[in-house]
Amino acid sequence: MKALGDLRDYAVARVVGPAALRVQRWGNQWRAWRGSGWESAYLAPPLGVAVRGKEMVARHWLAGRYANRDRKVAWITSAAPVELLHALGFFIVYPENHGAICGAARVAVDLSCEAENAGYSRDLCSYARTDLGSLFSGRTPVGRLPMPDLLFACTNICQTVLFWYRVLAHQLRVPLVLIDTPFVYFETAPEHAVAYVQRQIETSVPVLEKIAGRSLGMAKLKETGTLSREAAHLWMEIMQRNAHQPAPISVVDQFTLMAPVVEMRGEPATVDFYAAMLREVDGRIAEGVGAVKDERHRLLWDNLPIWYRLKDVAEMLGAGGAALVASTYTNAWGELADLIDPEEPFESMARTYLYPILNRGTGHKLKTMRRMIDQYSLDGVLLHSDRSCKPYSIGQLDQRDRLARETGVPALLLEADHNDSRCYSEAQVANRVAAFIETLER
């Protein structure tokens, strides 16, 4: 019986499932080619390559359903040195991405309630609550989550992950490897901080090897680093194409198209995907196609997306001729590409993972936003004050004032939450955004 079950799972994971997803992609491509299935008076249809991205993500989660049968599984934070785990053959799951999928599928509140009923405060990050709720209830929009053999967390995005992963380690009784990344207060991280992180990465290797049941091959690690860097470079190039007017790819599209560079960096398919995307974006530029049909205002988005209202926000802005052109969030997955050095994997991983925007001061973010305003010719800034993400939201009031004072570019604070729709008020957000656009049109 077990052999039959194994055979069935193998068939679903490797043959039937991928074939079904391929057919689904063909259907989507056919509809996109015919121009049907897209109804928006203000927004251009999504990039054609988006259906491929959707298939990649779906395949990843499909493989995840059966990953426990033949692979070691690691649950990992979004900005952790994933290259090590790829090189050791782990199947990788990002609970944060899973949280985002739950948010976009509008099931995050139900799942958060499961965690809240178990005693976790509503003041905790809604990604954490969503994922813990999913774990406690066994419900997930991706079918089934593979259980981890390893938890791998890096503190460079927030301190919540430290406690979140401790809860996971306690609940699941699996080893937790924690990489502690000291906060970078000034322009560059002190060398002792780099050495400290490097030492942690190096000392984690024997633990990872033991769980993986194989040795880390340096050639494989370098190859993974190279692929990771290429994908991040391509992603950066794609975002930089938005210096063109009209901007060819909206930040709202970037939010969903960034999934592979977050959860599949280090894989050849990810590089191919972004190379194809870059070609398509260049094609749009050549044809003068913008993501917003009548682009009159170019805006910056700060912080995580509002996953459960992505399209609504895009439509709301598009109706006022406003395009989201640049974002500190999507930028974070490309800006560190140059730091990845496959020839010096350990030292470069230490540097790369010390410098994510959330591991740096608020002054750095302000500087990044100022640069983006010039680089992308922006005329407004939307700061999403995300109730869940305190490290990202802290300082936004001052940043708003300073941007307005020093650059003359108006900025608006929007209060919401990336996953918890109970913190989102449709009428009030619409009112603020409409008033902001009227201000831009003066």
Binding site: L397, L413, E415, N431, R432, A434, A435, E438, T439, R442
Partner: protein, 265 residues
């Protein structure tokens, strides 16, 4: 009545207002009713009243503003309260500065440039503290008529301290103060202080550029203006018909849409 060139309607959470302006942007007709749950029916009825009072059967061009603006199907255009209040304040007073609008559902601070253009704004639309509802709710509890609220508060010699800025908790705090024998007047003064301090914090988020102007239904309450002056050190200017400023601004936007420029106050 003839000569009305444009109309504005402000469908707010507490009251619905209609204003008609003549050439040059002078307000010449206004209607005000408490907002009803069936807003669309009320809008039709009020527009009929406006038509009957003005003799202008079309009531056009019409610009709608306020939280219920999208319910005004008769409107030629919808515009947010921020823009409308700015237009109304500039036409009424003739200068820029910092406009504080305290409405029933939200309060907002708008920084106006010298030509009345909106430079920046901040809104408190998440919490009842700092809005008209805050006073409305509590005056009911204290048995004081809303119209006399400011007057009673200003008559107080002492002032009770209310630590809670939340409307719901403030109500419980009032019950407790009353139980301790504190008089109604000091409590009311403390309440006004709490509301004004909330407004001042919001004023500072956009930066205070004098002169300071006050609009919305709450501007009719003299205690708010007086305490706002005490807290900021600035003189508070209240335009005529402060509660109608949004509808007035909407009418001015409508006037501009037919190519006419509002004049000076």
């Amino acid at each position: 009545m003839t000569g009305i060139r444009a109309w504005g309607i402000d469908v707010g959470s507490s009251t619905t207002k209609i204003v008609g302006v003549e050439a040059g942007g002078t307000m010449c007709l206004h209607l005000l009713e408490d907002s009803e749950p069936r807003a669309e029916e009320q809008i039709v009825r009020m527009l009929q009243r406006a038509a009957a009072a003005s003799g202008d059967q079309r009531v056009r061009p019409l610009v709608a503003t306020g939280y219920g603006r999208k319910l005004v199907q008769q409107a030629d255009r919808v515009v947010t309260e921020i823009t409308c209040h700015a237009r109304g304040a500039y036409r009424a007073l003739g200068h820029g500065g910092t406009l504080v609008d305290v409405g029933g559902q939200d309060s907002k601070v708008i920084k106006l440039g010298p030509q009345g253009e909106v430079l920046d704004f901040a809104m408190n639309d998440k919490c009842a503290a700092g809005t008209g509802r805050f006073l409305e709710n509590t005056c009911r509890r204290l048995g004081v008529d809303l119209e006399r609220l400011g007057e009673v508060a200003l008559a107080a010699r002492d002032e009770a301290t209310l630590s809670s800025t939340c409307t719901v908790f403030a109500e419980s705090e009032i019950v407790s103060l009353l139980a301790h024998g504190v008089g109604v007047e000091p409590i009311l003064k403390g309440l006004h202080r709490a509301l004004v301090q909330r407004l001042v914090a919001m004023i500072h988020t956009v930066g205070l550029t004098p002169p300071l102007m006050l609009s919305g239904g709450v501007a009719r309450n003299p205690a708010v203006a007086r305490l706002l002056e005490a807290e900021t050190g600035e003189t508070v200017v209240v335009p005529p018909h402060p509660q109608l400023l949004g509808a007035f601004g909407a009418a001015l936007v409508a006037l501009e849409s037919v190519g006419e420029r509002p004049g000076k106050p």
